[in-house]
Symmetry: C2
Subunit: 525 residues, 2 copies
Amino acid sequence: MIAKEPRASIDLSHHINVVSRSRNPSPLKDIVKYMAVEGMVSLAGGLPHPSLFPFASVSLSAYKSNTVLDAYSPDEQHPLADDINIGRDSAAEQMGLITALQYDSGPGHTALRTWAVKFVKEVFKPAYDDWDVILNSGNTDGWTKVVRLLCENGDYLLCEEQTYPSAQAVWAPMGCKALPIAIDDQGLRVDVLENLLSGWQSSHPGIRRPRLLYTVPVGSNPTGTTMQEARKRAIYDVCVKYDIVICEDDPYYFLQYPTYNASQPPYDPLVAENTTVDEYVKGLAPSFMSLDYQGRVIRLESFSKTLAPGNRVGFFVTNPIFIERLLRGTEVETQAPSGWAVLMLSNLLQTWGSAGYLQWLAQLRNQYRARRDWMCSALESNFVLKSVDKVKDPPTGAEGLLAYANGQAKAPIFSFVPPTAGMFLWARFYLYGSPRFQKLQQSADCIDPEKSFQDELWLALANKLVLLTPGSYYTPWQGKDKVTTEARGAENGICFFRLSFSMVTKEQMELGITRMHEVLQDFWQ
Amino acid sequence: MIAKEPRASIDLSHHINVVSRSRNPSPLKDIVKYMAVEGMVSLAGGLPHPSLFPFASVSLSAYKSNTVLDAYSPDEQHPLADDINIGRDSAAEQMGLITALQYDSGPGHTALRTWAVKFVKEVFKPAYDDWDVILNSGNTDGWTKVVRLLCENGDYLLCEEQTYPSAQAVWAPMGCKALPIAIDDQGLRVDVLENLLSGWQSSHPGIRRPRLLYTVPVGSNPTGTTMQEARKRAIYDVCVKYDIVICEDDPYYFLQYPTYNASQPPYDPLVAENTTVDEYVKGLAPSFMSLDYQGRVIRLESFSKTLAPGNRVGFFVTNPIFIERLLRGTEVETQAPSGWAVLMLSNLLQTWGSAGYLQWLAQLRNQYRARRDWMCSALESNFVLKSVDKVKDPPTGAEGLLAYANGQAKAPIFSFVPPTAGMFLWARFYLYGSPRFQKLQQSADCIDPEKSFQDELWLALANKLVLLTPGSYYTPWQGKDKVTTEARGAENGICFFRLSFSMVTKEQMELGITRMHEVLQDFWQ
């Protein structure tokens, strides 16, 4: 039997917008191939001579890839890998300063791009074979370039019911409108997506069907949900049926960890038994890209949550037609990412090796696991767990939902599904039990009592010195008229807050949740 | 007597385009001010904890700011400044790794921005007082953001007759068309600009008047021209009169050097008497920004030619209304530039000090002066200098024009004005004397004999192993119908080549010019 080999991508060039289609390769870049001719004297390039760069050498010291960080003492010193000494010239395969500091071609430095191709091949294994990789300056830049590749002004875009505000900050000023898809504990719901698309012509007569889905499929910002393989397959199939391009913005992908177990003490990376890298990789839900047999996924792969956000380097993985147009855009809009960042990343990753990076990722997600546990356990100690049956308006399909009440109260005042990836816990608040909310509802001049309540609660929390993010920040913009509870499609008597567990210590987290408890007591009495 | 104080900028917000006007500040950023409250527990931010960044320290070694490079031996070792050791935390005012590697706000790291403000104040002294600075990811990114700030699809843009192709690669796909303004030895001509604008309504009835001028005013790419103060003032006045915003893309500003003196040997930085930093700064033609009393100049200030292109960091200087909108764009499109680059630059510039950077710049431009001299002198030794009177179709207002012939020929075959800034020599070729050109002219199916001749000559040169850049690369795109010599407004019997003197050694330059001489001999017999 012959193993099923991945095939080439299909032609999706009809998705490319007018501006992107109109880009021509820079004529200057054509000259580059002649420069390589043996013996050529080039008076053509406009590059400064590297002898005129004042940087002589740089030495980087980084942790060993097998460092196990102490979640409880974040400022601990850690064992260091051998110093990475970078001179002006590249020694062997290492990237040198002169290469990093000179102008670079659009796809980005070979050193990091080669690493990225290998990494994608090993870890993601896309289901088609002519995918390619080019660098970008981080996922913000990446997503902007995707919108500028595919969207026309005024287009509709598919996204989750709650979405990352900076993502829509690109498309909303272009007059593009969001089509928020209801979510459950795994993110966007297939049935809702399918219904919207199958009924498009009757619901939106004469309007071009949306052709791009923006999703944060793992550890979603803000809802913390993670799509498992079956969900992704089902969504992918709908996207094939309706010819939708999927942009997966997946910075939390490598921060997947096991489900929360309330009966156990918070996970402690220093004492827990370590999983092997193999087990870790096998435990990761496959990405959309891994399921993509047509090339309709654009993956934005990031180092921001895995190495550091300040790098401002990431990469696109997608079909060669999109890559070529993204490259044309990159040449004109930003050029390759900063050579300093690429230099540091490529040298670190080369020193660590592929296995080393995975080792780093495996321990890193343990840190987030510990932090998720701290937050869940702080909520557990301040509030009273209630049976999910007691929830009057439970969320759809929320496996593992935990509902909490304040003190003696019977009805839960909030609920959440403990996340299994990323850095966010998304709390759903039940407002009917709050006297203040009832008053707002009865007020004639309050057009959106849920929003007003949320804002009051947020301010009260901030005044008690605990800062959450209001759920309304993540409501996609659907047009100027969509401002009331009804119009924006919000549920009655419900509001949300995002709690982030990435940045504070266990003690601060406990203090914050205690303060939150006090404020909720006031609001729900 | 009271000294005349700079005033505030005027309101130019009517220039901002619809998309840019529609940007809202990110709601998430509003939370930031609450984070600073004493004792606040923030569960709001989505930042990874810095203990999770694997970078421990970095040490940078750079040349002393008073290094005088040897133009003849570029690979020489140079005296080093004290090592710049950067730990995770910022020591005193130095920027540390954790600051560099964390997410940053849109305007860019304070360390470098503060330096930039000080530098602008000391060196450029804008003629109004509420200008501001934000960082960008290099001038390519900067110019893209300016186009996205001001231009609507289909707009007309003002630019020099020959312009930087990557600049128009942003606007052309948007359906914007160039209005190329004829140039002379100082770049764009005021009379032509004034005539175009005053006659706009009759020449372009019903079409919105152009509102943005793109210019590389110093050491222009490709033409090498530099505008002196009087020219800039005159252009600025026309822009005030017609309400034009000026974007000055000025990467070669600090590479201004004295005029060429054929009677002297090429300048040698190692033996020449050094000018003081003060003399150097005084010798720089003032920038548009220095003359700008209204705030209608957007200056793109770059480190690419002065420190290294791979940094991908630059900054905008302009009025506060534009700055605020550029910031909104930056937050959404790219975020702040790479922390690594900002870290290296800000630490280097702090170590050197303002005076040190100027010292570096003063010696750097000497390197380009030496290289300009090498090229001029290589042309001088291969070709025969002719009186400018012998030029049949001389360029307009070309002070200092040098015209050269091949061997015994009477008529010059090319001419140029030796540049006084930057890295490019722009050669104007006179084609009527070439039998090959005459043949092309007589050919019925050659719609643009100048372009065809240029292409043939370019290929012949490349085959003889000397690579120039064809002048047509720099012809602004004016629309699909503008492809013939006439339609694109080109002069008959003229073509151009750009010769860059930045990248090759003296020996290679001489070899390249010798090869060029041989090829020209064939073409002009």
